[in-house]
């Protein structure tokens, strides 16, 4: 198989998922992510250290647990902040499941599309706290830049596993993980790479929560009851809860996966991303709907073919209403819809990938995970089939939404893989 068959542009390759890795508030594996979701658990906790930030009203967050950074050799870890550590560990799990060894990493057939919202805020804060004492660079370590650069996660993962293909580091806030999967998908469809390691990662910093708090979009009423927030689509929701983690998937052309004889977990059949230029911050239902329609066109399917929508729904006042209206506009009231933010909080750049992984899990197991804390649907949200209890469901096709600050919309379409 040629390294790059982009000269044969007419060949559109089918793209399948052959590996998945997760670092989430439920633990450092896809199995723990899956288990936590199925058990209806919440990864949200009260965070005492957030009290140190003057004026921060939201003191809850969904932090990762069980991460063992020293599983990564110091030579590679020295240039990583936490987000790259999460990404590298998630990538390791995904590569292992996909049975991609060192030779295949180095073959040039595998690329990386992995992003984060920003470089490490914690590392940046630490550096400037020291630097601003005397404006001296004498204490500046050589590895600082590698933890701050925007492509830190992608570069660190590629270095750690000696991946020699293309590097892409999308940065689109909450849509980053989905964009990474979508752009990786398109790269394989076009034949530029046979395999792509795709996903997103972010590490929690109080200023992440502050970003949303200052916009009155963070949950502030559950500091004493963190296990009850966020509440997507619920009448009593009071905003989002920030989280952290990383989700990484191995995407691969169908012929590559068949040639290697690896298990196929799902198929990516469509992707759309577009800019909502109506506002840098406020959601717009009609533009969200347009993104979903474009994804359907990309996949060559009708709205009626979609069996489940995994919503972005972060539990903000405006966002949930807009997304529900957009879903109703495209799909009507009958498609089952749920959001995983109640379990995981909003894992930022990781969310698109972690929630896609969870969606693939639902498709494979035939069970829908309900929206945690959705007790009473907000009457201002559109009439939809909100999943409020675990539900057995044969899901052949699922649509995954993510909508980011900055006006970046994404919709991915996943299909259960069958040997056809």
């Amino acid at each position: 198989m040629p390294l790059n068959d982009s000269s044969t542009q007419l060949i559109a390759h089918r793209v399948v998922v052959t590996g998945m890795g997760a670092i989430s508030p439920f633990g450092p594996s896809v199995a723990e992510l899956d288990q936590g979701l199925r058990a209806g658990e919440s990864g949200v906790r009260y965070c005492e250290e957030m009290r140190d930030v003057h004026g921060l009203r939201s003191l809850v967050a969904a932090k990762v647990v069980g991460v063992e950074p020293k599983r990564i050799a110091r030579k590679h870890r020295r240039s990583m902040s936490n987000m790259s550590i999460y990404a590298a560990l998630a990538a390791q799990e995904a590569l292992t499941q996909a049975a991609i060894d060192g030779d295949q990493c180095r073959s040039g057939r595998l690329g990386v599309a992995l992003g984060s919202t920003v470089g490490s805020t914690e590392v940046s804060q630490s550096f400037f706290e020291d630097y601003l004492r005397d404006h001296s660079l004498e204490r500046m370590k050589t590895t600082l830049f590698f933890q701050l650069m925007n492509h830190s996660c992608a570069a660190n993962v590629a270095q750690t596993y000696e991946i020699n293909g293309r590097i892409l580091a999308p940065s689109a806030a909450c849509a980053t993980g989905s964009q990474a999967i979508g752009y990786g998908y398109e790269m394989i469809v076009a034949g530029h790479q046979q395999m792509m390691l795709c996903g997103g990662a972010d590490e929690l910093h109080p200023l992440t929560t502050a970003t949303f708090d200052v916009m009155h979009a963070a949950s502030t009423g559950h500091n004493e009851t963190p296990q009850l927030t966020p509440r997507p689509f619920d009448r009593h929701r009071d905003g989002m809860v920030c989280g952290e983690g990383s989700g990484v998937v191995v995407l691969e052309s169908l012929e590559s996966a068949q040639e290697r004889g690896v298990e196929i977990l799902a198929e990516v059949i469509g992707f759309a991303t577009l800019s909502d230029s109506t506002s840098i911050a406020n959601p717009n239902a009609s533009v969200m709907a347009e993104c979903m329609r474009q994804a359907l066109v990309s996949a060559g399917i009708e709205a009626a073919d979609v069996d489940y929508v995994n919503a972005h729904a972060t539990a903000t006042a405006q966002g949930d209403i807009a997304e529900s209206q957009a879903i109703a506009e495209v799909f009507g009231a009958n498609v089952p819809v749920s959001s995983l933010k109640g379990h995981l909080g909003h894992t930022m750049a990781a969310s698109g990938a972690l929630e896609s992984i969870a969606t693939i899990g639902m498709m494979r197991q035939g069970t829908l995970v309900p929206t945690l804390h959705l007790d009473e649907v907000d009457p201002l949200c559109a009439d939809l089939d909100y999943v409020q209890q675990p539900r057995q469901k044969n899901i052949q096709i699922a649509l995954k939404n993510n909508f980011a600050l900055g006006g970046v919309n994404t919709s991915l379409i996943l299909r259960r893989y069958t040997c056809d």
Partner: protein
Amino acid sequence: MTEQEIVTIINDALVEEFELDADEMQPELSIYDDLGLDSLDTVDMVIVLEGAFKFKIREEAEIKEIRTLGDIHAFVQRKLEVEAKN
């Protein structure tokens, strides 16, 4: 400060910074081949030593000649002696 105290400070600082095995810090070990440091690490090593001994050594030509852990011990010893005389 005794010679052994200097060696201890150096070894402790390097063990912490580069996650080395404290029991295997023998002076004859190559900092590259045995301790596994590379060019980025040696720049950071200078910063660590400057922090540990509160001196400035980054412009010293001798640093480029350092090959073993013992070379570091000797270099720091000489530097401290010169500073003490001044």
